[in-house]
């Protein structure tokens, strides 16, 4: 208790506000744990960078907005991610992507996110102090672990942070380095593991890449569901793995995998199933994963763009560059 201080009182918890860290709980997939962590890992890391934290320090993920919290200490915060939340510090609009000082009694409030984008991230200097559980502080609600008692925040929760010895420099993310939010998204994928020619037909692959997909309302941290689509499939059936050609003998899934549940493609999220018996026809690359976290369920559209391994790695380096505070403007 002595080395942390209370920083926020949760006045209104929002839909499912969670403490996350990055890269989350790694290396436990073979026990059935996906890493958890932020759905938009870029906005999350930028928020931390703006308050002088390590990029993966524990911070808040706020889907859809509707959060209100009261500051209990003088500290520095930064909010990143979705636009159109009407976020305010007391009665003044609060800028996204900037270091902001708060003092005891200050209130940060936002309404329902109008977009573009769907999730806000809020980091506090020193990082939110929650216990380390199985190697990470990330909340995983289905397993009941991490964050605040393995659950989403509720009204009355008090968050603590490690105090910082000196104020962090006040920074702003230049427009050129801010993640570009949209209502129609282009998400980078690599083909496979179960693509053409042995699982999909060439036409199936063209269909996946060529069309716009609507994001289903039933989308969350477990998976982002797309519309039902009848693929032709290269195999008449899944054989011993089940009669539908989307069925394979069960194996482990990559995070970001586009998993065909029968006829419904689902992008596997950070709390998703680690394994199962459906084909994974394409995989969202590291540099594209953050976009999946900003898709608005029931409204946004996505188009997939195939990239090579080399392009995926180059894009990942570009994304990492935007999370480095050395490239930010000093205020």
């Amino acid at each position: 208790m002595t080395d942390t201080h209370a920083v926020f009182d949760i006045v209104m918890p929002g839909l499912q506000t969670l403490v996350q860290d990055y890269p989350g709980r790694r290396g436990l997939q073979s026990k059935g744990f996906f890493p958890s962590g932020p759905m938009d890992h870029v906005s999350f890391r930028i928020a931390n960078a703006l308050v002088g934290n390590e990029p993966g320090a524990p911070a808040l993920e706020i889907p859809m907005g509707r959060l209100a919290l009261r500051a209990l200490a003088e500290t520095w915060v930064a909010v990143t991610g979705a636009e159109g939340s009407g976020i305010r510090l007391n009665s003044t609009p609060m800028p996204l992507g900037e270091t902001v000082r708060v003092v005891p009694g200050d209130e940060i409030t936002c309404s329902i996110v109008k977009g573009p984008g769907f999730r806000l991230y809020l980091a506090v200097a020193g990082g939110i102090d929650v216990p380390m559980v199985m190697g990470s502080r990330a909340t995983y609600t289905m397993g009941g672990i991490g964050g605040v008692e393995g659950r989403a925040l509720v009204k009355g929760d008090v968050l603590r942070a490690r105090p910082v010895t000196a104020p962090p420099p006040r920074l702003r993310v230049p427009a050129s380095l801010r993640p570009a939010l949209a209502n129609v998204w282009e998400v980078e994928v690599m083909r496979g593991p179960h693509a053409d020619p042995d699982f999909l037909t060439e036409q199936d692959w063209k269909d996946l890449i060529g069309r716009e997909w609507k994001v289903d309302l039933n989308s969350n941290r477990v998976g982002t569901r797309l519309e039902s689509h009848r693929f032709q499939w290269a195999r008449p059936s899944g054989g011993v793995a089940g009669g539908h050609a989307s069925n394979v003998l069960d194996g482990s899934y990559p995070i970001g995998g586009i998993n065909t549940n029968g006829d419904v493609p689902v992008i596997l999220g950070p709390d998703g199933p680690t394994a199962g018996g459906f084909t994974v026809i394409a995989t969202v690359v590291q540099a594209g994963l953050w976009k999946v976290g900003q898709l608005r369920p029931g409204r946004d559209l996505i188009r997939f763009r195939e990239v090579s391994l080399d392009e995926a790695l180059a894009l990942a380096a570009r994304v990492d560059y935007t999370t480095d505070p050395h490239h930010y403007e000093e205020l």
Partner: protein, 320 residues
């Protein structure tokens, strides 16, 4: 572009290998043919153990499947080619699986067939996801499993489930879910998965997808056809002492035997678990691949006949 990075033909006792791209951080390695061949799973177990004993820098984790291994790596620390070279070494180090003796516990679990929570999961699916589906009759998947396998009735299905030990090939999906396959090949049944999947399944539900039987460790979405319910197999709060050292009950290489009980008996057992009064029946044991192969060979002809009949029934049955 192609998803296949490389293929290696079978050589001696080593199965054929295909390396598949799974994004920029994962490579999926698949072994042998897509067949219910437990020797492939024993091979996966051997490679996984080798990689654990000889860590590869930059390899975050090797996560097994029934006949596959998913390699999660940091491209900054190891590129894809070096990763595959490192795994090839692990393949070369494998001896024949046929003489393996593995530590394996035998866990006996109660099962209530056609329980009300599984029926509730099916009912919710029909009201929220898909109203009419061939795998659903009267809020249950059981008659579909029976028909798809040409079994004479529900009792024959229940006898098939309780009449063999189930081998936990690996763990995954959600924390602590065992992916189990029958050690008696005569008890191998198969069924297509949901299309699309459910958004809710009760904790403790038992279902089958393809040839694999699973126990849902937490409330979860799911795609398996449900037929019963058992006691908890995962508890992070360790309300029962069996979960004190590990929140996961069933480890890879453990075997499960199901014992039929009434739903009232099951609910009483589930209450006893929460109060730390239930006695999980766990025998420490070993599993000899040699003995397994010998037993499987003895019943092979009978198993083949049964399989042909089941495949014929499957061909006559609608797929979801």
């Amino acid at each position: 572009m192609t998803a296949v990075i490389a293929r290696r033909p079978a050589e001696g006792d080593r199965p054929a290998i295909v390396y598949r791209a799974a994004g920029d951080r994962h490579v999926l390695v698949e072994y042998g043919e897509m067949a219910l061949d437990l020797e492939l799973n024993f091979f996966v177990t051997g490679v996984t153990a080798h990689l654990a004993e000889h860590p590869v820098p930059g390899l975050v984790e090797a996560a097994p499947g029934f006949r596959s291994l998913l390699l999660h790596h940091e491209p900054a620390a190891i590129d894809r080619k070096a990763l595959i070279d490192a795994v090839e070494e692990a393949h070369l180090a494998q001896r024949s699986v046929r003489s393996l003796v593995l530590p394996s516990r035998l866990i006996t679990l109660p099962i209530a067939f056609d329980d009300s929570e599984s029926r509730e999961a099916v009912r919710r699916y029909t009201t929220t996801i898909r109203q009419e589906a061939p795998n659903i009759r009267d809020n249950s998947n059981i008659d579909y499993i029976v028909e798809y396998n040409g079994l004479p009735g529900r009792d024959a299905l229940y006898a098939t489930v309780t009449g063999t030990e189930w081998w936990n090939a690996y763990t995954g999906f959600f924390p602590g879910l065992p992916f189990m396959f029958p050690l008696d090949p005569r008890n191998a049944i198969t069924v297509p998965k949901y299309n699309p999947t459910r958004t809710w399944t009760a904790e403790g539900a038992v279902g089958i997808g393809g040839p694999c039987v699973a126990i849902y460790p937490v409330e979860a979405p799911g795609g398996y056809q449900l037929f019963g319910r058992t006691v908890p197999v995962y508890d992070i709060l360790a309300r029962h002492e069996v979960f004190r050292d590990d929140p996961i009950l069933i480890r890879p290489g453990d075997r499960v035997r199901f014992e039929p009980v009434s739903e009232d008996q099951l609910l009483a057992a589930r209450r006893d678990v929460l109060e730390n009064r239930y006695e999980y029946v766990i025998e420490n044991d070993q599993f000899s691949v040699t003995d397994y192969l010998a037993r499987a060979a003895e019943v092979r002809a009978e198993a083949d006949t049964l399989r042909s009949a089941r495949e014929a029934a499957a061909a006559r049955t609608e797929v979801p």
